[in-house]
């Protein structure tokens, strides 16, 4: 059962990742990305981490992907459908990807990870909260600063200023 679920999730995740990158339309690509993110959330469930899975769906699928979709919508149609890869670069990229996968895969398969299994019960998600408040609390403060900074910054950047007029091509 678990194996079947894992297989299915794997196919969905990897397949939609490829789709996200390769589909001609950017909108479909975004939907493909949502598939990947959802697939990963599925994996999280499979790993007995429902809290993270929920967070993943909430933040990623719910907000990030939607944000991306909106941005995609903002962009002109012809840009969305333009497929402009350089074939040489594409093959080089595929080669790099394959070597990468083979190399790192070989390292991993060769290592002791091969046979790690566990019989212990999953971590209670309350421990996560404990972690946050006792050990990681300074990081949490920084996290807040990151969000504050990125939001103000993104706002400043994205704000339309009237001086900007017309495209520049230099």
């Amino acid at each position: 059962m678990a194996d079947a679920a894992f297989l299915a999730l794997s196919v969905i995740t990897i397949g939609s990742a490829i789709a996200a990158l390769e589909l001609r339309s950017l909108v479909y690509g975004a939907i493909g990305l949502m598939g990947t993110l959802g697939g990963v959330a599925g994996f999280f469930l499979l790993l007995d981490s429902p809290f993270v899975a929920l967070f993943q769906i909430a933040v990623y699928v719910g907000s990030i992907a939607v944000l991306i979709l909106f941005t995609v919508m903002l962009v002109k149609r012809e840009l969305i459908f333009k497929k402009i890869e350089d074939p040489k670069r594409k093959w080089a990229g595929i080669g790099l990807m394959l070597i990468f996968m083979v190399a790192i895969g070989a390292v991993i398969l060769d290592s002791g990870l091969k046979s790690v299994t566990t019989d212990e019960p999953p971590v209670d998600f309350r421990e996560i909260g404990d972690d946050f408040l006792t050990y990681y609390w300074p990081a949490l403060i920084l996290m807040a600063l990151i969000l504050a900074g990125s939001v103000t910054g993104a706002l400043v950047l994205a704000r339309r200023e009237d001086e900007i007029s017309g495209p520049r091509t230099d």
């Binding site: 390292v107 990681y136 990081a139 403060i141 600063l145 910054g153 400043v156």
Partner: protein, 494 residues
């Protein structure tokens, strides 16, 4: 649990508060408020912070260079050392920005982002936990993505920001991937636990540990501008507002080194030591490519960008031989400090030139010595210091770096080659530094003087005093770097 009165937390309190409040004031004032107002506040906050760090260090209320703690942060001299260097850079940037940001929109957010980024940098140096480190890393990076693209009307600023962002995000992902493996192998994110975990690793797990180190090198190396992760750097530095380039080159880059020392070096002393050979190779590649590429450049900012790549190579020498020489880390720290000041001054000078002349193209700065004498003098001093000409501070740290490499030669035979490569590169680098001097002083003899931005002059004067002062009496900083440098052995960890 780390106390609220420890240095990093006080810094977070001061800078974080001001950093968050500045945009709020801006909104409260209904987008009013002058550049000078925000700059003063930010400057005050930074001065207060540096005062706190200095006070803490001088009163000996910080730990000696512990580098390990059971907590996510540790208040030690290593962090203090970086905090001082990075805060100086932040002050340079803030002061230099005062003139640069005149008549530009949204100064409040600009200063706020500088402050936030500064916190990130400083906290990297204080981190003893991978998660903390990662979060601080992001706090440092994300504001700078925005700052690089802050000139919204300038296409090259935007282009630079995009490239920087793509690389940065990629690198972050790589880092977190690396953290995931390290965590997976040792079951902890605390650096000291990771080290101990690595030390007792089964033989068949060691390749994985090395894989995680490789990922760290790539991730941190992007910020440090190590070859081959350097490609974004010249473009970003050139396109960015020059003050921000100063922050990047002198600040974030140094934070990258802090992370490297904390994580890579210390974290892997536990593994076999041969792996630092990889760092050595990267060091040689980095300095060679950086210096060679700098030679034919036409733009000051770009030259300095490449030069800072070259300097990353020098610093990496000290790190790569850290396990074999007592003074390796010390030398690196010293050079980090010096480079922060020199490169900061150089970029601020570029900012001054851009403010006054509107360009940083090498052909347009002919006769700068006559047009902007103080800026030019500051630039010359920092150039000579970068080239390692005695008796300026850059000389001493290079001296220590090469010395450390030779010193390590008795343990690892490849180490002296680093010194030789470094020395030859250092000589080669003189070619383009002297070229700039030539343009400034020996051409354009009929140029007339123009008014120089005051804030830039202030930075120049400070840096001249600092560079020459440390050049004549390097001992204080060498000592400071010595106390900040961690001891390279497992027994030092708790």
């Amino acid at each position: 649990m780390i106390e609220l009165t420890s240095t990093p937390m006080i810094l977070v309190a001061i800078l974080g508060t001001i950093g968050v409040i500045l945009p709020l004031i801006n909104i409260a004032k209904n987008e009013g408020g002058s550049n000078a107002f925000y700059a003063t506040i930010a400057f005050g906050a930074l001065i207060a912070s540096i005062g706190v760090v200095a006070f803490k260090i001088l009163t000996d209320s910080v730990l000696p260079s512990a580098l390990f703690s059971e907590d996510v942060l540790v208040d030690d001299t290593f962090g203090g050392f970086f905090a001082i260097a990075l805060l100086i850079v932040a002050i340079f940037t803030t002061v230099g920005s005062y003139n640069y940001m005149k008549n530009k929109s949204q100064p409040a957010v600009y200063y706020s982002l500088i402050l936030l980024s500064t916190i990130g940098m400083v906290l990297i140096a204080y981190s003893t936990d991978l998660v903390m480190l990662f979060v601080a890393w992001e706090l440092m990076s994300i504001p700078t993505y925005i700052l690089v693209g802050y000139n919204k009307k300038d296409p090259s600023s935007n282009e630079a920001a995009l490239k920087y962002f793509l690389f940065g995000a990629f690198a972050s992902a790589i880092i977190i991937y690396g953290i995931s493996i390290a965590y997976g192998l040792t079951g902890s994110t605390n650096i000291s636990d990771v080290i101990h975990g690595f030390a007792v690793l089964d033989a068949d797990m060691v390749p994985l540990a090395l894989l995680s180190i490789g990922l760290f090198i790539a991730g941190f190396g992007f910020k440090m501008g190590l070859v081959p992760f350097h490609m974004w750097l010249p473009d970003a530095y050139e396109g960015a507002p020059p003050t921000i380039a100063a922050l990047l080159a002198a600040g974030t880059k140094k934070a990258g080194f802090a992370a490297t020392i904390r994580v890579i070096v210390l974290g892997t002393v536990a593994l076999n030591m041969d792996w630092t050979f990889a760092l050595g190779v990267i060091a040689v590649m980095t300095m060679t490519i950086g210096n060679i590429a700098a030679i034919m450049q036409k733009n000051l900012a770009r030259i300095f960008a490449y030069s800072s790549i070259g300097h990353a190579g020098y610093i990496l020498i000290g790190i790569s031989i850290a396990p074999f020489s007592d003074i390796g880390i010390q030398a690196s720290l010293f050079h980090i400090f010096n480079h922060a000041v020199m490169k900061g001054a150089a970029f601020i000078a570029v900012a001054g030139i851009i403010i006054a002349l509107g360009t940083s193209s090498l052909d347009k700065i002919k006769g700068l010595g006559r047009r902007m004498p103080i800026t030019a003098l500051g630039l010359v001093i920092s150039l000579l210091a970068l080239a390692g000409v005695p008796p300026l501070n850059g000389f001493w740290s290079k001296l220590m770096l090469f010395g450390a490499a030779l010193d390590a030669g008795s343990v690892v035979p490849w180490a002296p080659w680093l010194a030789i490569a470094g020395v030859l590169n250092s000589a080669l680098s003189l070619a383009y530094y002297a070229w700039i001097i030539r343009k400034m002083y020996f051409e354009g003899e009929t140029e007339k003087r123009v008014s120089e931005p005051k804030s830039v002059i202030a930075v120049m004067i400070f840096s001249i005093i600092f560079i020459v002062g440390i050049g004549v009496f390097p001992d204080p900083i060498i000592q400071f770097a010595g106390t900040a440098a961690p001891t390279m052995s497992l027994s030092a960890s708790p």
